[in-house]
């Protein structure tokens, strides 16, 4: 069987990649993606610990479900914020163009 350490190691690697992405990316959408990777890493931890250490406790699975729910809600609001920003940038460009004409 696969030892617990492999799953945990995979989770840490995924989290580290996400962390690296959050720290390096300038693009807002890219940062959101990196954050999702970090959340996935936490879920892997919850499930791996449940499987290996606390097989009778549904708590880990419950946490994973909540993380997914909250992540979906967060992404929805976050992308709406990003959308407003991008729309605003476009409007500004249009304005600048119109001012040039006069």
């Amino acid at each position: 069987m696969i030892p617990l350490g492999y799953f945990l190691g995979f989770g840490v690697l995924l989290f580290a990649l996400g962390l690296y992405g959050v720290l390096t990316q300038r693009s807002a959408i890219r940062m959101v993606m990196a954050i999702e990777l970090m959340l996935n890493a936490a879920n892997i931890n919850f499930l791996a610990f449940t499987r290996y250490l606390y097989p009778d406790d549904p708590r880990g699975a419950i946490w994973a479900i909540f993380v997914m729910t909250v992540a979906a809600a967060e992404v929805a609001v976050g992308l709406a914020v990003i959308l407003v920003l991008s729309r605003r940038r476009q409007t500004i460009d249009v304005d600048a163009a119109e001012e040039m004409k006069h």
Partner: protein, 494 residues
């Protein structure tokens, strides 16, 4: 079973009110007449007052909903605090929301839902409930901060707050998953007992990592250095009532979660996190005060000031005695009312000028002496000068520090109060000693009298009562603190 419902009554009232606000807004949101637009606001305000009124139905200490909800004096304290903050924030937003074309129904509904999240954070010993409450608060705030869609700074503030907030919640989750792996539980008392059993074993470093990650995540929410970078931009860009809500409500709720998690779940590791928290607290207050010195925008200045105050409050947790925790709660109470007062005056002044430059406050002492006097009082409280709430809050913290042999920390705090004096004084000087800028007050031909009339007119819509209530609270907490000190002393956790 009834008790299970009864214990959630304030939250249920708030959620129901948010539905009602949305429904009422659909009927009255056509902006045809000014008065109809106030109806959603009025509904939200009445609902929050109703939630506060239901608190005396308190069912007593105990755990409800399995172990998911904890009703005790601590949660009662924070519910009273959060609901009072909400009422004042609503009073401040009536005129602001109307004049900035903010979707009033959704705005008020989100304020109510954020309040539900805050009270959840303070009313549970289970990390899952705390986490969901934290996210409920944060998600509502992401939208609230970005509510002024036509304002670049509001967009910028929202996106920064969102990205850092979401990243910090991912860090929080990873920390919690480590605690779960180590102890098999996310219920704070259970975590605590398991951790004390693990004392001295090789597995304990996992708990250290978890403590670090938890602190990073909650440090973002309370704006502790080095996790403060969202604060100035978000405070400056957000709609002013939302900034007030962030500073008074979200900060208090985050501290409630921090205090619960650290004092209830991780007391066995106190030797480790006490020095770390002390260092962070000193860095936070010093950084906030020093950078605030060079600000020209009042909201940004208040952002740095709120970083500094997060540092003061953190010292209370870092010392970690029953007395210092009571002092922390008292300080949060004093800080919330003082801050709400300051932001009420900012809403008033910015309503006239449309921006929040410190120079906008020029001559406020002539135009409107009452508000200028109130703002002076609030600033005295923020510096910590008697006879105000802030003085007593600081005094109580000093007392706790000296009792716990942390005299040097008290000295650092006094030095910081002195550093903070110039930037508050700058605003006070502009208000009282400089003449008003006639050219910028109103279009040409306007006398100062008319400006005063404009201000008085605006004040009718909530600002006046908000300033009066906060000023009274600041004086009351400063002059007659005994009952409040008794109260926070009873809020025993340990």
């Amino acid at each position: 079973m009834e008790r299970n419902i009864l214990v959630l009554l304030p939250q249920l009232v708030l959620i129901a009110t948010s539905f009602l606000v949305l429904a009422v807004d659909l009927r009255t949101g056509d902006r045809k007449n000014r008065e109809a637009e106030l109806i959603p606001w009025l509904v939200a305000l009445l609902g929050t007052v109703a939630a506060l009124v239901t608190l005396p139905l308190w069912v007593g200490q105990g755990e409800f909903w399995g172990r998911m909800w904890q009703s005790d004096r601590f949660s009662l304290f924070f519910q009273v605090l959060v609901f009072s903050v909400m009422i004042l924030v609503l009073l401040e937003s009536a005129e602001y929301v109307r004049s900035r074309e903010i979707q009033s129904g959704v705005f008020y509904a989100l304020i109510l839902l954020a309040g539900v999240g805050m009270t959840m954070m303070a009313s549970s010993r289970e990390l899952l409930t705390i986490y969901v409450g934290l996210e409920l608060m944060s998600v509502s705030f992401y939208a609230l901060v970005g509510m002024m869609k036509n304002d670049d700074r509001s967009n910028e503030a929202a996106i920064k707050y969102y990205l850092l907030g979401a990243a910090s919640s991912a860090v929080l989750l990873f920390g919690i998953s480590l605690l779960f792996g180590l102890t098999g539980s996310t219920y704070l008392p259970e975590i605590s007992s398991k951790l004390s059993g693990l004392q001295g074993t090789a597995a304990l470093p996992v708990a250290w990592a978890a403590v670090l990650l938890l602190f990073v995540a909650l440090g973002f929410k309370v704006a502790a250095v080095p996790f403060h970078m969202w604060t100035p931009d978000t405070y400056q860009g957000a709609p002013t009532p939302v900034t007030a809500y962030l500073a008074a409500g979200s900060k208090a709720a985050a501290f409630a979660a921090l205090i619960r998690a650290f004092s209830l779940g991780l007391p066995t590791l106190a030797d480790l996190w006490q020095p770390a928290l002390t260092a962070v607290a000193v860095a936070t207050m010093t950084y906030g005060n020093v950078v605030a010195l060079s600000q020209t925008d009042v909201k940004r200045m208040m952002g740095y000031s709120s970083i500094a105050h997060a540092g003061y409050v953190l010292t209370g947790l870092a010392i970690f005695t029953p007395e210092s925790l009571s002092a922390t709660l008292y300080y949060l109470l004093a800080y919330a009312f003082t801050n709400l007062g300051v932001f009420a005056v900012i809403v008033l002044v910015a309503g006239r000028r449309g921006n929040e430059e410190i120079s906008s406050f020029r001559g406020l002492g002539q135009i409107s002496p009452a508000y200028a006097a109130a703002l002076t009082l609030f600033f005295l409280s923020l510096v910590g000068i008697p006879p105000t709430a802030g003085f007593l809050g600081k005094f109580y913290l000093f007392f706790a520090m000296i009792e716990a042999d942390y005299t040097w920390l008290a000295v650092v705090m006094v030095i910081n109060s002195v550093i903070s004096l110039p930037y508050y004084y700058n605003v006070v000087r502009q208000m009282w000693l400089e003449p008003p800028e006639e050219a910028n007050v109103l279009p040409a031909g306007t006398a100062a009298g008319q400006t005063a009339a404009t201000i008085a007119h605006r004040a009718l819509l909530g600002i006046g009562p908000a300033v009066a209530v906060t000023a009274l609270a600041v004086l009351l907490l400063g002059l007659y603190p005994q009952p409040f000190i008794e109260w926070v002393r009873q809020v025993t956790l340990l």
